[in-house]
């Protein structure tokens, strides 16, 4: 089991990352992944530019903790989390999570678990530029609800 975590300003190549993650391991039967992208609308306002801030040190620690927690809950092989910071625009990739396992259920569960916890625990903050000016994005109750599901969930 390896858990890769990367916080970076540059974009990433999901095809290349997925190939690397599988690392020619013929025990891998399933690869679940998720890409989060910048949308051009949020809360009914058009978004032209987004700025992502994080808390260096704690971010990486949290992402490793979340990945390790997924590996204790499900029978998975490897995990990859990439999160971009800095200036982003609509259509840009923000986040990528990928998980390998022997069978599909485990990689689906672990991938969504990591995303849900990333959304509510990892210290990233979005500021977006709308026609009315810049604003910090507000945390969503639905994200807390999504993360809370896992507290009672059985694998």
């Amino acid at each position: 089991m390896t858990a890769q975590v990367r916080v970076q300003t540059q974009d990433f190549d999901v095809g290349a990352e997925l190939a690397l993650l599988r690392q020619n391991n013929p025990a891998v039967g399933a690869v679940a992944s998720f890409i989060g992208c910048v949308r051009d609308m949020n809360e009914g306002d058009s978004v032209g530019l987004m700025y992502l801030e994080h808390y260096p040190g704690m971010t990486e620690a949290e992402l490793h903790r979340i990945s390790a927690e997924a590996a204790t809950r499900w029978n998975i092989f490897d995990t990859l989390v990439i999160h971009r910071i800095g200036e982003l625009r609509p259509l840009d990739q923000i986040v990528f999570v990928a998980v390998t396992s022997a069978h599909r259920g485990e990689s689906f569960r672990a991938c969504e678990f990591i995303m849900d916890y990333l959304k509510t625990q990892a210290p990233f903050w979005k500021r977006e530029a709308t026609p009315a000016g810049e604003r910090w994005v507000e945390a969503r109750a639905s994200d807390d609800a999504a993360a809370a599901r896992w507290k009672s969930a059985t694998p």
Binding site: Y55, A122, F124
Partner: protein, 93 residues
């Protein structure tokens, strides 16, 4: 009795995102009176600065406190040399 006469411990404060902007500071070394050596005590001490600190850190406001990169509760101790970050609910992903 002046605070200056009480023992203090030096900690690193980190403010992030909206709170960093509101406070106008990203990081500072803070001399925390030892009788305030908990998260609750630190918050009380910071609120005593008044104005934006009293406002943003008021009870009931939505913010989180991490000690040495781990989010903790109000009764968590704060020791000399700790890095204590205060930040709004996260919005990444």
């Amino acid at each position: 009795m002046s605070n200056a006469t009480l023992p203090k411990q030096s900690i690193e404060l980190v403010f992030l995102a909206r709170l960093r902007e509101r406070f106008g500071v990203a990081r500072e070394t803070y001399a925390l009176p030892v009788e305030h050596a908990s998260v609750a005590g630190l918050l009380a001490s910071l609120r005593s600065r008044g104005k934006v600190f009293a406002d943003e850190l008021a009870e009931g406001r939505a913010y989180r406190v991490a000690v040495n990169h781990t989010v903790v509760g109000l009764d968590h101790p704060v020791h000399a040399g700790d890095e204590v970050a205060i930040f709004p609910p996260v919005t990444g992903g």
